[in-house]
């Protein structure tokens, strides 16, 4: 009610002052800024993609680093105080395995190992180019800094989660990059021609949508060759995820194109003698852009979940590559999980990434929808 009452007043003011012309992008940004949860989601995404870029630098240990003496080591929490008193700098103690069956470790409190910033460690190439051996933080060996514990072969889970972000965070984006052009073209053609063509094309798309998603994902992953490197497998899984996604996406586009093709500018293009395909690609599809952006953002989490579920069962990206899904596989052994609950940490990252995408996507939808603008 209050908003309705405000509206005439604002219109009056708008006529009195010279109108400020804003581009659609500026309007959307203004709207997005007001959506606090969407901004939080966006910020989390920025952090996660920073991790993707700087994984080697942020991870104290390498992807293949393993400390066989410290398998299923619980997370080491940096301390500020021990029997000797307080310290302003966080430190850890050296631990040794006490009982291999129960996997208990004892700390040696006599010596402090300080957590240091910018330490030298395993060499790597930043962005695949710049050789470096600096790591953001670490402790001096023989002490270890396992922020999120280790797995069965003593590999640092935190480091592997950092590396795993590469696969988990990029698979959704890559799948969307394949889905979008195919879905747009398919939906555009179906919607533009309508009638029999539309009917046939949509029925075909519906067949894909009729399968229970996970069953189809599973059956398709069984088609993949097993003896390929994990990078190849990663790309193949991406293709499968895109194959599952395009159908639903093209139906949305088709619905929008059905409405758009009745617009006058389409008629004008036709009257000017333009061919059908250029009309679809140059005049109709660009108008679906806002829908595409929103659907893509909201579709990425689906692909992330799909990949992690597949990898969790061992049908997706496999060892030695790390993805958040296949890191969680270690937790699927229940007796192991009961003793080492920290193996669930990769799942926290999956949830965080998916929540962030959903929040950001919802905010984006409101921001790009002119009807939702509050001025």
């Amino acid at each position: 009610m209050a908003q309705d009452a405000m509206r005439p007043a604002r219109r009056l003011r708008a006529t009195a002052e010279p109108a400020v012309v804003r581009t659609p992008a500026q309007l959307a940004w203004r709207q997005l800024r007001r959506h606090r949860m969407a901004l939080v989601g966006g910020a989390v995404l920025v952090v996660l993609y920073t991790v993707v870029l700087l994984a080697e630098f942020l991870a104290p240990y390498g992807l293949d680093f393993s400390d066989r003496e410290r398998f299923f080591h619980p997370p080491t929490v940096p301390m500020f105080r021990d029997a000797q008193g307080w310290s302003l700098r966080p430190f850890v103690h050296l631990t040794t395995l006490q009982d291999p069956g129960l996997r208990t470790y004892v700390a040696d409190p006599t010596r402090r190992y300080y957590v240091r910033l910018l330490v030298r460690g395993e060499p790597y190439r930043l962005f695949g180019l710049i050789p470096s051996s600096w790591h953001l933080f670490g402790v001096d060996p023989p002490a270890r800094l396992f922020l999120m514990g280790t797995d069965q072969s003593g590999r640092d889970q935190f480091s592997r989660i950092m590396y795993g972000s590469r696969i988990s965070m990029s698979i959704g984006v890559l799948a969307a990059a394949i889905t979008i052009p195919i879905g747009m073209l398919y939906g555009g053609i179906a919607g533009y021609y309508g009638g029999r063509v539309d009917n046939l094309m949509m029925r075909a798309a519906e067949i894909i949508m009729a399968f229970p998603g996970f069953y189809l994902l599973l059956a398709l992953s069984a088609v993949l060759p097993t003896h390929v490197g994990c990078t190849t497998r990663f790309y193949l899984i991406t293709v499968i995820l895109a194959f599952l996604g395009w159908a639903g996406f093209s139906r949305l586009i088709r619905g929008m194109v059905l409405a758009l093709k009745a617009q006058e500018y389409v008629l004008a293009a036709k009257a000017a003698g333009m061919n059908d395909l250029p009309i679809i690609v140059r005049h109709i599809l660009p108008n679906t852009a806002s829908l595409v952006i929103v659907v893509a953002t909201l579709g990425i989490p689906g692909a992330i979940l799909g990949e992690s579920a597949l990898s969790f069962f061992g049908f997706g990206v496999r060892e030695p590559c790390a993805s958040w899904g296949n890191l969680l596989t270690a937790a699927s052994n229940l007796p192991t999980l009961m003793l080492s609950p920290w193996l669930l940490f990769p799942g926290v990252f999956i949830v965080a990434a998916v929540v962030a995408f959903n929040l950001f996507g919802d905010g984006l939808r409101d921001a790009l929808d002119p009807r939702m603008r509050t001025g």
């Binding site: 029925r203 069953y215 599973l218 059956a219 069984a222 699927s332 009961m338 998916v354 959903n358 929040l359």
Partner: protein
């Protein structure tokens, strides 16, 4: 109404054909088959393998294999499982029941929780509890079931209140029938919680959005203006109309009953169809994979059909000729 149903049924036929064709194509594309392992086994003679090949009809050309399989499938005969040496229908039959029991209970729980929560959230839009529920819903739809399943299993272990995985206890066969029911119910708490929370999140958001939309309508304002008490406005005028669009979701969920729990079943060791298909894919048990794919999709299609019929029944505007 009848014509509408008939029409939809006829439309289903080419779709079902397409589904079987795609399933068949996927199976044919997958490298290696069950017999490949047998060929490597020194105990099994090449003649036996050849014999099995012929028995399963694998020596026939592809189109013959497909048509033969299709003809049998129409009569609900999905062939033999290579791994278990029993008809696929036997295998699927028992697993199907377990999956359905789990999902029906989860569905009922989810609806019973989600509708009141959605109504509450819509009535107090932007209140503290609405915001909290919204955020919880985001986390709910964003949590993969295998993660929440593992998490709850760990919690069950820590508290010792609930059994850790499986569907029955070891001494299940010795229990009286009512103890059996209780035993299964006890094992069901964790999976129902996981599946329930997952669908509560989506349903609640939908219910909230629908009710907000309806509450803005003129007839609600009229009802309020003529002095009806708020509970009556809500229950008689608003909620009824807001639930209508949920019928589509109900049909969809009905169809998704089989697929929804697939991942979770494997995590907690629930002997359902989802667990069967993962095992079958691992063992290259062709006919089991195909039958699960087809049965799963048929359920989805039928669920959509039921949703359509329900919707046409409740909303006369949809019944078109």
């Amino acid at each position: 109404m009848l014509r509408h149903i008939l029409r939809r049924l006829l439309q289903m036929i080419p779709m079902l054909l397409g589904i079987t064709l795609v399933s068949f194509a996927i199976i044919q594309l997958s490298p290696g088959d069950f017999l490949a392992e047998m060929r490597l086994n020194p105990i099994v003679s090449p003649q036996t393998v050849e014999q099995m090949r012929r028995n399963f009809g694998l020596d026939q050309p592809l189109h013959v294999q497909y048509l033969r399989w299709l003809w049998n499938a129409v009569r609900l005969d999905f062939g033999y499982s290579f791994a278990y040496h029993v008809p696929v229908m036997w295998l699927i039959g028992s697993r199907l029941f377990n999956t359905l029991v789990l999902n029906v209970v989860a569905l009922a729980v989810a609806w019973a929780i989600a509708i009141p929560l959605g109504i509450h959230a819509a009535r107090r839009q932007y209140s503290w509890s609405d915001n909290a529920l919204s955020f919880a819903a985001y986390v709910g739809i964003s949590t993969p079931t295998f993660f929440s399943g593992l998490f709850l299993l760990y919690w069950a272990f820590k508290t010792g209140w609930l059994p850790i995985g499986g569907m029955t206890s070891i001494q299940f066969d010795e229990l009286a029938w009512w103890q059996k029911v209780l035993d299964v119910a006890h094992h069901m708490v964790v999976p129902v919680l996981v599946l329930g929370v997952f669908s509560v999140a989506g349903l609640m958001r939908q219910m909230r959005a629908n009710l907000l939309e309806v509450l803005r309508q003129d007839y609600v304002r009229t009802a309020r203006a003529k002095g009806l008490p708020e509970p009556v406005v809500l229950s008689k005028h608003a909620v009824r109309n807001a639930i209508n669009p949920l019928i589509t979701i109900f049909g969809f969920e009905l169809g998704g009953l089989l697929g929804g729990s697939a991942i979770l079943e494997n995590v907690i060791g629930w002997p359902g169809l989802g667990k069967l298909i993962v095992e079958a894919v691992l063992q290259k048990d062709l006919y089991v994979v195909m039958a699960s794919l087809v049965i799963g999709s048929v359920m989805l299609v039928v669920g959509n059909l039921i949703a359509d019929i329900l919707l046409a029944y409740s909303d006369p505007r949809i019944r078109y000729e």
